[in-house]
């Protein structure tokens, strides 16, 4: 075994640095010969940019893939998913099957969405079909809930109209002021009368074949204020937006628990109040959505840390938070750098189950394909997997998921 792993980071967070130090890795600067670089978004851009970038060697790993924004920028994510679905349809894949109303049966996991100002007219057409509905406006490139607002009248988004004379969208093509507008889901599941969202961590180690892992210890983020779909509260962000960055400014924000629940609490609650079957189905569908979203982004890469935002917050808002993130990074590093050895990008064996820590295998394409090949050899009966049907050209059934 060669020397110790040399690391660099431009993010000064203890959950990272403590993990590097406990492995007795050596800290170096970015100009030196490093093995592992935990980069901020800006740095990634530089490293992989056409003008200023440089090639990584076989012994270097980073924590983002070059086109990470294909999934983390809201407009690109939508574009990719829409394109992915169309491709599947063209191939005649069973996954792209639609019901009699024209809705995708298996791939209907994003609400109706349009890009603004590009699709403004299409949006207006859709809006008029249901003029009492609420829509949510989100800036494409921002995070932490910044710039998000709800509308229920066309007049509220006049300035995104392409034909508008008062439009200030000179720089629309630069993508800086682009927005996506989606049909707002105004009847979310409420617990304790409050709206919440899910923060799940998914690690992708290779993209082709797809190998991804979901961290078992995700969490829910609750709003501090009771949910109401009432139009008089459409601009009350404490009701509608679950981002901690927003909620923590509310009067009722609690610094002990931070408005967070573990996913296992959620599971217990749902199983107890709605039954185990329904709950299992829910989680299966969540896993399904994650895998399909990853497949929709067809880019090859070394490895990639996925989150709704490209850079998951490594800031800890509560003590439990700090513990969670420390362990998360720990488990992540164990998977991508087994035995703490200097990485070799040609290495792409799957880690043994014991080495996963709190991750579970979400999808292992390689394993699934080899199992599928074995099965095909043994029998030609084309077993159906619950309601999902055979996979066809999209790849064999997932290795470890419990999809019924």
């Amino acid at each position: 075994m060669a020397g110790k792993v040399k690391w660099v980071t431009d993010i000064e967070k203890s959950v990272l640095i403590n993990n590097f130090e406990k492995r007795e890795w050596v800290q170096v600067t970015e100009n030196e010969d490093w093995n592992f670089y935990w980069m901020s978004i800006q740095t990634i851009r530089n490293v992989f940019s056409v003008d200023t970038g440089y090639r990584l060697s076989d012994e270097q790993l980073v924590n983002h893939f070059p086109n990470h924004y294909e999934l983390t920028r809201k407009d690109l994510m939508i574009k990719n998913i829409k394109r992915y679905r169309k491709e599947l349809e063209k191939e005649g894949s069973l996954l792209a099957e639609k019901d009699k109303n024209g809705k995708y049966i298996y791939l209907d996991f994003v609400p109706v969405t349009f890009m603004l100002p590009a699709d403004y007219n299409l949006f207006v057409e859709e809006f008029r079909k249901n003029p009492s509905s609420t829509w949510i406006m989100k800036p494409c490139g921002k995070a932490q809930g910044k710039g998000i607002f709800l509308i229920n009248k066309l007049s509220q988004i006049k300035k995104w109209s392409r034909d508008s004379r008062t439009s200030t969208f000179v720089a629309a093509s630069s993508g800086k002021e682009a927005y996506v507008i989606s049909l707002y889901i105004d009847n979310p599941l409420l617990i304790g009368g409050k709206k919440f969202d899910l923060r799940l961590y998914v690690l992708v180690t290779t993209y082709r074949p797809l190998k991804c892992y979901m961290y078992k210890l995700g969490f829910c983020r609750f709003c501090t204020v009771k949910y109401t779909p009432s139009t008089s509260e459409l601009d009350n962000m404490f009701v509608h937006l679950t981002n901690v960055a927003i909620q923590k400014h509310g009067d009722d924000y609690n610094h002990v628990h931070g408005g967070k629940w573990t996913v296992s609490n959620l599971r217990l609650y749902l199983e107890s109040t709605r039954g185990k079957e329904v709950t299992n189905r829910l989680f299966d569908q969540i896993h399904w959505i994650v895998v399909q979203s990853l497949k929709a982004v067809a880019v090859s890469l070394y490895f990639w840390f996925l989150n709704v935002n490209a850079s998951p917050s490594l800031t800890s808002s509560t003590a439990n938070d700090r513990i969670l993130k420390y362990n998360l990074i720990n488990d992540t590093l164990n998977i991508v750098m087994p035995n703490g050895e200097i990485p070799d990008c040609r290495w792409n064996r799957s880690p043994p189950r014991e080495a996963l820590g709190n991750y579970q295998v979400l999808y292992d394409e390689e394993q699934a394909q080899s199992e599928s090949a074995e099965r095909d050899l043994r029998s030609r009966s084309g077993q159906l997997l619950g309601s999902k049907g055979a996979r066809g050209s999209v790849g064999a059934r997932p290795a470890a998921a419990t999809w019924k």
């Binding site: 304790g192 609690n254 628990h257 217990l268 107890s272 109040t273």
Partner: protein, 497 residues
């Protein structure tokens, strides 16, 4: 001691009393009347026939299961010195409450003016975002202020020199109550035997078939209360627990239950009680800061405020050593001068009895109904002084005796340095571990409380928790990663002990 015949009659009389006016009673009455018209009923054997008919039609199986040593439990406290201690404790609380009322200038009870009533109606579902002026409210009593009273209990008729048992008791509780020892516990809790499957550990989905049946996409529980209770001893599957507990507790959510809840709610709107402020303060300090229960804050206010107005709770004082407090009211809210209708004065941590139930029931009147049953069957025993097996005094004694048997050297050492184990375990027991265990583990513990109709498991778990967490290091324990049932099994049944 009474003879068996009298005990049984008392037991039956008590059950009949409780059933009167309940939905179940009218059902059984109706069924009984129906079967009188059937040919298979003969006049001579009428009684037996009616009974067997009811049994086959399922009516009797819905009766609340009663504890094997039930009779004593259904009487008020038989031991005089216990009653005396409870009475004097109550006096102190009442005095404290009265002086609080005077100090703050807040009456024990008052009618709300119209505008205030209207505001409360609007805010009923989000009371958590209100009441800024409560910070000045002191606590009435925390759970641990109860402990000194228990420690000072003495049986005036008992001379400790006469103590037949060779070993002296090193703990704080110095009353000679009759509690079960380990062999007896083993016998009573056979279902926890290491060789029997337990849910939550062994994941036996097929344990006790017949308790439920599949109906379309869900599982439906068979309406057999006694069977449900038996089943619960091995732990309930998460998907069935809510239905099973409701069945064991005979908690229904029929129209009259919902109406009753609405009446209570109306009572809350109309009158403000000083104890309401205690409730607010308690929820804000405990449940709102809890990782698991903060989500349900608003439900807790609703349930507890309604609880304080529920005169049906007064029923349980028939077998509670406590007495509902009375005080002179400037405004006659209630003719008997009772300023808290349930007779139960909440204390710091009281809301934690309700909180775990929010994981099971998300409909307020159902949640209320189950909580109330849990309270009048079990939780009241945790904060009143009595000689009951399930009472806090017995639990403390049980804990100390078990620990002394289990880890005599440790106990002795801690006693020498003035660190009595009960001082740590007491707060766990008073809350039946709510807030000290992760919810999934807590619910498994409460499965057994319901299954065995006793709080003894709380004492057993305290002994185990103490041994495994405090023993290595005498600091505050973090029980949240504890796995409850395997510990109890090992303790009771492992041969090493």
């Amino acid at each position: 001691m009474m003879d068996e015949g009298t005990e049984l009659s008392l037991s039956i009389a008590h059950i009949v009393q409780r059933l009167k006016g309940s939905h179940l009673h009218s059902q059984i009455e109706r069924q009984a009347k129906d079967c009188l018209h059937r040919p298979e009923i003969k006049l001579e054997s009428l009684k037996e026939d009616v009974r067997s008919f009811l049994k086959t039609s399922g009516g009797l199986s819905q009766l609340p299961p009663s504890h094997p040593t039930a009779p004593l439990e259904h009487l008020k406290e038989p031991l005089a010195y216990m009653r005396k201690a409870q009475a004097s404790w109550e006096k102190r609380i009442l005095k404290s409450l009265n002086s609080m009322s005077t100090e703050l200038g807040v009456p024990l009870a008052r009618k709300r003016p119209g505008a205030e009533q209207k505001e409360l109606i609007n805010k009923w579902n989000e009371m958590g975002t209100d009441e800024p002026g409560l910070q000045t409210l002191p606590r009435v009593f925390g759970p641990c202020s109860h402990l000194p009273v228990l420690i000072s209990l003495r049986n005036p008729n008992h001379d400790s020199c006469e103590d037949v048992s060779a070993r002296s008791h090193w703990g704080l509780i110095q009353v000679p109550l009759n509690i079960r020892d380990i062999p007896q516990l083993r016998q009573a809790y056979t279902e926890l035997n290491l060789s029997s499957g337990q849910l939550g550990i062994d994941d036996l989905a097929h344990v006790h078939p017949g308790i439920y049946r599949k109906q379309k996409d869900s599982l439906v529980v068979e309406q057999d209360s006694a069977a449900a209770q038996q089943y619960s001893r091995r732990g309930c599957p998460t998907g069935l627990r809510a239905a099973l507990w409701a069945l064991i507790l005979n908690s229904t959510n029929q129209l009259q239950d919902m109406m009753h809840y609405e009446q209570l709610r109306a009572g809350v709107i109309q009158h403000n009680l000083l104890v309401d402020n205690l409730i607010y303060k308690d929820v804000k300090l405990t449940a709102s800061n809890d990782d698991y229960y903060f989500v349900f804050e608003d439900f807790l206010y609703q349930v507890l405020l309604c609880f304080s107005r529920d005169t049906a709770v007064l029923e349980h004082f028939k077998y509670n050593s406590a007495t509902p407090p009375k005080s002179y009211l400037h405004e006659k809210i209630h003719s008997a001068g009772i300023f808290i209708y349930s007779g139960v004065i909440p204390f710091h941590g009281f809301s934690m009895y309700v909180a775990p139930l929010c994981f099971l029931y998300n409909e307020p009147s159902k949640l209320y109904s189950v909580f109330r049953e849990m309270y009048i069957r079990y939780f009241f025993r945790l904060h009143s002084i009595s000689s009951s097996f399930s009472g806090i005094v017995s639990l403390c004694l049980q804990f100390e005796r078990l620990l002394q048997t289990h880890l005599p050297q440790l106990f002795y050492h801690l006693r020498q340095i003035g660190a009595q184990p009960l001082r740590i375990a007491f707060k766990w027991m008073v809350r039946a571990f709510s807030g000290y265990l992760s919810t999934d583990q807590l619910l498994l513990l409460w499965d057994r409380i319901l299954g065995y109709d006793s709080l003894e498991v709380v004492a057993e778990l305290s002994d185990l928790s103490f041994s495994l967490t405090i023993a290595p290091q005498a600091v505050l324990a973090d029980l949240s990663t504890l796995k409850v049932i395997p510990l109890i099994q090992i303790f009771l049944f492992a041969t090493a002990i």
